[in-house]
């Protein structure tokens, strides 16, 4: 297999830089695997290691600092047959920490090479997440204040199924690379090297000492027993084929005659647990069965099981323009929280507006016609009161007919829920 190195663009690293050894080692590893350049995508980060992709005749993707894993993930999910190799320094590791952790959790078949030289070389030798506290860098005393990261331990804890640590200039490099590249899942190698341009200038670092430190620190070298599991892309596809076919949007035919002549704004004022949103939808579906144009907005707190719940519905024979509520024609009140939230509207209601409310609720003064329903006496549960109130509106012949309401319910509910809903409506409408 021929070399994948681009002879016209030889490495430009400082003499003695660990990165150069990794470039040669990766080329040899790819040759051993017999991979042609167009089946390989090298995704690089920022910094000296970010130059990596320029030295190879492969697909290359040089993105933002710390984000190399994000592109690699998208590429691999779109093309699972590609060999995707991510290269970043200890700089990219720091800024991209969340993506490293997520990649460990995900187990997508990509290989991450961390070219770890314990500082940010390209920007002048500042400390990184892996700089020892005793290291001297251009960050002054700042690295004395923070504990360095052992990415192999972190990766194992985060679920990476293959973790290794080796020397850029070691004899084992090519073997380590081949094994990691072949591993059918997420593999990570922490590759230690010298930075002759910066870190090694200020700190006594020898390859021998580095090799010893690696031996001492590394418990894992290769597959991590407890973390091995199904590879992400294959697992994803397996689950995706089980996913039910997407449903087409519901269609409602105009089969009834709606008793409105002009635009009607409707407010449903209730509380969490009263299906206000759903009853608003049912009103809309009923309206559509009467050939009307409809719109609905909801207002409820983020903590969905508590507090007010309000639906704003507009019904019109013409296409709806403004979707805000002007002067409502109908206001349904089934909980104090909803009433309180819109208390200002009551004084503005004209005489021909209709308010349908729970008889035990008290309202601000209003000129509108008020219809009370004694839900307690009728033994209508809180969760059914909004629907019952809507049925009362239909019974009065305002907005919608009983027939429209029944059709609307049929579009929203099935089975037992439909039967119960129809029963409530029938009671109120004396059917």
């Amino acid at each position: 297999m021929t070399s994948l190195l681009n002879r016209e663009r030889p490495p430009v690293f400082c003499p003695g830089c660990g990165h150069e050894a990794v470039v040669r080692g990766l080329d040899q590893a790819l040759q051993r695997l017999g991979l042609p350049g167009n089946r390989v995508a090298i995704v690089s980060d920022i910094g000296c290691s970010g130059l990596f992709d320029t030295f190879f005749n492969t697909h290359a993707f040089h993105g933002l600092h710390g984000r190399a894993l994000t592109y690699a993930t998208g590429i691999k999910m779109a093309r699972p047959d590609l060999k995707v190799i991510v290269v970043m320094g200890d700089g990219g590791l720091g800024i991209g920490g969340a993506h490293v952790l997520s990649s460990c959790r995900r187990n997508l078949d990509i290989t991450l090479l961390i070219l770890n030289n314990f500082n940010y070389g390209m920007t002048g030798g500042q400390c990184s997440a892996t700089t020892p506290t005793t290291g001297r860098t251009s960050s002054g005393f700042l690295n004395e204040l923070e504990a360095p990261l052992d990415i192999c331990r972190v990766a194992v804890a985060a679920g990476a199924p293959y973790v290794d640590r080796t020397m850029a200039t070691g004899k084992e490099l090519v073997d380590s690379l081949v094994q990691a590249l072949c591993y059918p899942g997420f593999s990570l190698i922490d590759i230690w090297g010298l930075c002759p341009g910066r870190y090694s200038k200020k700190n006594r670092v020898t390859l021998t000492q580095m090799a010893e430190d690696i031996k001492e620190s590394s418990a894992i070298a290769g597959p991590v027993a407890g973390n091995e599991r199904e590879e992400y892309a294959a697992h994803y596809r397996r689950l995706a084929t089980r996913a039910p076919a997407a449903s087409k949007p519901l269609t409602v035919a105009a089969t009834c005659h709606a008793p409105i002549r002009e635009r009607c704004d409707v407010l449903l004022l209730g509380s969490a647990g009263q299906y206000i949103n759903t009853v608003g939808e049912i009103l809309c579906l009923a309206g559509m069965s009467g050939g009307l144009h409809v719109s609905q907005k909801n207002d409820y707190p983020i903590t969905v099981l508590r507090g007010h719940s309000i639906a704003e519905v507009v019904l019109d024979r013409q296409p709806i323009e403004y979707t805000g509520i002007g002067s409502p024609a109908v206001v349904v009140c089934v909980a104090a929280e909803g009433v309180a939230r819109r208390k200002k509207v009551f004084a503005t209601l004209p005489e021909d507006a209709v308010v349908v409310k729970d008889s035990k609720l008290s309202l601000p003064d209003t000129r509108a016609k008020v219809i009370d329903i004694d839900f307690a006496k009728l033994k209508i549960r809180s969760s059914e009161q909004a629907l019952a109130a809507l049925a009362m509106v239909a019974r009065e012949g305002i907005l919608l007919t009983y027939e429209m309401l029944v059709v609307g319910l049929g579009h929203r509910y099935q089975g037992k829920m439909l039967d119960e809903a129809l029963a409530v409506v029938a009671r109120i409408c004396d059917r």
């Binding site: 994000t70 998208g74 093309r79 997520s102 449903s247 409602v252 907005k297």
Partner: protein, 372 residues
């Protein structure tokens, strides 16, 4: 008549899939979350991929990788997410990566109100990238536009190889309304032009007298490169000012020179009108009702609803400014797009009406402002 009942967000998702989108990645954020939830229903059964990134930066990153591998991709968020996307957006511009990005705007600044609408990100969408290169921003008015403009957005992303924003709003995204889906015919889906065999294979080299490089996918038979660094046509870093300038100007011209081909708008008015209302987004709905009322009161008022906001469709705007003595720009913010109109209005008086308090601008508000 048969109608369906859809919110803007669902219409965007369905429009995307109809346009051929087969990759979505996003992070849940109100009021955009339902776009992600819809894509999760629609994509896997269609053989597509829908992912939930660990954050917004990952989500858009996934999309950029997938798009460069040849798949039509989309992501969706709100203002806080656009903030996080910013660096990746700059990369998408410089790397000429097709991508549709939906901003379902919420009331800001910052976290603001998740469940209140605003159009506070309009200039942010244009300028929230380092370098200030042009982008495309489309603004739907309603559910119907959400579907159709999303389809247009994908076509533009493919045709011009750039990020295309959909500037939606909580008031559109999370309002459900009736819509006759049979009445919707979107544009024919376009696909990015593939790199011809006899092309030298430089990933950023357009064909002669064209401005958009034909596409070389990552993972294709011919090697392809992508880079966020300043690059020459060959995709390698360049330090040559002439090469750099050529690339920058080409990327600018590919959008500024063609906006006439994708200026979407509606105009209601005639030669006798002397007041022009300029609106976009959900405000256009109230403006339509206001214009009717103003005309009933005797006003000679015209309504320009812009659906392509950026690049600024200067020719269209100038054309409709002609003959008007007064322009009123109405926005759900403190005055953003009005700056573009002022720039083009010459001696015609431009005034602004807006609010950014989480409430819709009503027809009454507009009638009062214009009538005064």
């Amino acid at each position: 008549m048969t109608q369906s009942f859809l919110e803007g967000n669902e219409a965007i998702a369905r429009g995307a899939v109809a346009a051929g989108c087969r990759f979505f990645a996003g992070y849940p954020i109100t009021p955009a979350t339902s776009i992600y939830q819809q894509m999760l229903q629609l994509l896997p059964p269609a053989g597509g991929v829908c992912l939930q990134g660990e954050d917004e930066i990952a989500s858009i990153g996934f999309c950029l990788g997938a798009s460069m591998a040849g798949v039509k991709a989309m992501t969706a968020t709100s203002g806080p997410g656009i903030s996080l996307y910013s660096e990746q957006i700059s990369f998408a511009i410089g790397g000429e990566i097709p991508l549709v990005i939906v901003d379902v705007q919420r009331l800001g600044p910052s976290t603001g109100s998740a469940t209140k609408g605003a159009d506070g990100d309009i200039q942010f969408l244009r300028w929230g990238n380092s370098g200030g290169m042009p982008v495309i921003v489309l603004a739907p008015v309603d559910v119907r536009d959400c579907y159709l403009l999303t389809m247009q957005a994908f076509n533009l992303a493919e045709r011009y190889r750039c990020p295309v924003f959909i500037a939606s709003n909580k008031e559109i995204g999370m309002t459900r309304e009736s819509i006759d889906l049979d009445d919707l015919t979107g544009p024919e889906p376009e696909v990015r032009k593939p790199c011809p065999e006899d092309h030298p294979g430089h990933p950023f080299a357009p064909l002669p007298s064209e401005n958009v490089p034909p596409f070389l996918p990552i993972g294709g038979k011919r090697h392809s490169r992508q880079t966020s660094s300043t690059h020459g046509e060959d995709g390698y870093i360049s330090t040559d000012p002439a090469v750099i300038e050529a690339g920058i100007l080409r990327m600018q011209e590919k959008l500024l020179g063609t906006v006439g081909d994708f200026t979407f708008y509606e105009y209601d008015g005639d030669a006798e009108d002397d007041i022009l209302l300029v609106v976009y987004g959900v405000t256009a709905r109230a403006a339509k009702a206001a214009v009717r009322e103003l005309r009933a009161l005797g006003s000679r008022v015209a309504l320009l609803t812009l659906k392509t906001l950026y690049p600024v469709p200067e020719e269209c705007i100038r054309q409709h400014l002609r003959g008007k003595s007064r322009v009123v720009v109405i926005e759900m913010n403190l005055g953003q797009y009005v700056r573009e109109i002022e720039r083009l209005s010459g001696n015609t008086a431009v005034s602004f009406y807006g609010r950014m308090n989480g409430e819709l601008i009503s027809p009454k508000d507009i009638v009062l402002k214009v009538g005064s």
